[in-house]
Symmetry: C2
Amino acid sequence: MYIQVEDCKLFLKYLAMKAPRYKVVYEFLKKNIITGNYVEGHLLPSENELCAKFEVTRPTVRQALNALVQEKYIYKHRGKGSIVANQQRTLGLLSFKGFTEVLSNSEQTIETRILESKHLQDWPEDFFYPIPKNLRNSGCYFLKRLRCVNQEPVMLEYTWILDINLDGFDAISFENNSLFGTLASKFHVEVTSVDQQIKAIQADKQQAHMLQMEEKSALLHIYRKYGTSRNDFFLFSSLLCNTSNYAIGNVFS
Amino acid sequence: MYIQVEDCKLFLKYLAMKAPRYKVVYEFLKKNIITGNYVEGHLLPSENELCAKFEVTRPTVRQALNALVQEKYIYKHRGKGSIVANQQRTLGLLSFKGFTEVLSNSEQTIETRILESKHLQDWPEDFFYPIPKNLRNSGCYFLKRLRCVNQEPVMLEYTWILDINLDGFDAISFENNSLFGTLASKFHVEVTSVDQQIKAIQADKQQAHMLQMEEKSALLHIYRKYGTSRNDFFLFSSLLCNTSNYAIGNVFS
DNA sequence: ATAAGCAACTTGTATATACAAGTTGAGGAT
DNA sequence: ATCCTCAACTTGTATATACAAGTTGCTTAT
């Protein structure tokens, strides 16, 4: 029932980066859950064992574990320990992580097709989120992608990125990289929040064609405003999901 | 910008109940956010101020604040403070709270119509969530409700409650009370988690009729398993939402 | 008038210690 | 063989202290 801790390479990697210690522990544990080293339903090492292993105090370990609890990787049981939760086999898009990051953890074959490369344009007239006048003048970058799981188109994604003249932003294409990941690594901008609304709509002719379903089929429409670590920088997205074979789901506790 | 702390009655109430101190702080702050004493977009008292006010240490205050952050009542900004988040004008059902509790905070007129009163039955054969054999024999209570906002039917809700012979459970009707609230107050059972999946489906004849929409219109179908403070007690629900006028939404950060 | 520096404040991270409540398994009694 | 007790373990709650990083407003220099 007790699983041996393996592979400290990630541990050392993050130490070198001077990450907060609780994040080192968190990433290590998360990685081992995702790779299957920690088996669903089984106990993680106890808090005290992790303290000894990572040479940190218990509140630090607890902060790491609480982050895993929040993301539903584990649940805790007083007196027993921390147990690896069952992993969901869904797109899990109710969290604010971008599509690439969520699915990079899954065993499914994913593909992103760029339907319209990032280009500068005006804000749409009837935009789903009110754009203040002062931001409207800046224009926005627009990006249109089709997301496929196991060669099946499951999501049409429209993305609007406020244009705030980030150095070098014009030259980034996002063809091979995650939008959120690129913002973080190249521009040091983290996506920190999402405000989202969900509706069920009927697929119009174009949407049905792109998602290979019948016209007027039911689509999940998720529209989002992402906040970032910069107060002057927002992104918006409109996601149209074919949920015939892939539900959208998560766990709250 | 700085809001005065008011009304310590709730504070004293929970102290009398010997609740964990962080929960006292949490409930106090939450209540004041919900009632509007702490205004959206404005700062809460700082952590140190709250420490002085409640005579607790900072980690205790932080635990309360972190719970509020998790539930999106506030967000935190290093150097600035804790800010009351914008409250959503939607059904907000992506959290695990029951319908009654969510909407009790809103200005809209809500109504629940009981379509089928709670009654004991067998588990459905094709249930959306696998019911283990040993639980199957217990049977379940079934409840069917129609939720209306401003007289408009917006949600069909089917609820299945595992029958574990809770004393007095038979006699409870839920006609005028929240299911979750009743479980908490009468049976000391808290709903602690939800595992949910969302799809878009086409309304069949019955669903369309109940929700006053055209057959084959797009419906949001949310199906959930609720975990509770008792390891042997679960509830399930299937929600069919007409999102024409009321989106489902929330904020993550 | 504007910019820079800095003190006082804010939240974020971390160590250290202590006690409470729940779990588990071993040992002893029946 | 079964049941009870209890020690050793688990996580939950809390205090106390310290330093780091970001924010804000005031003061001083240009």
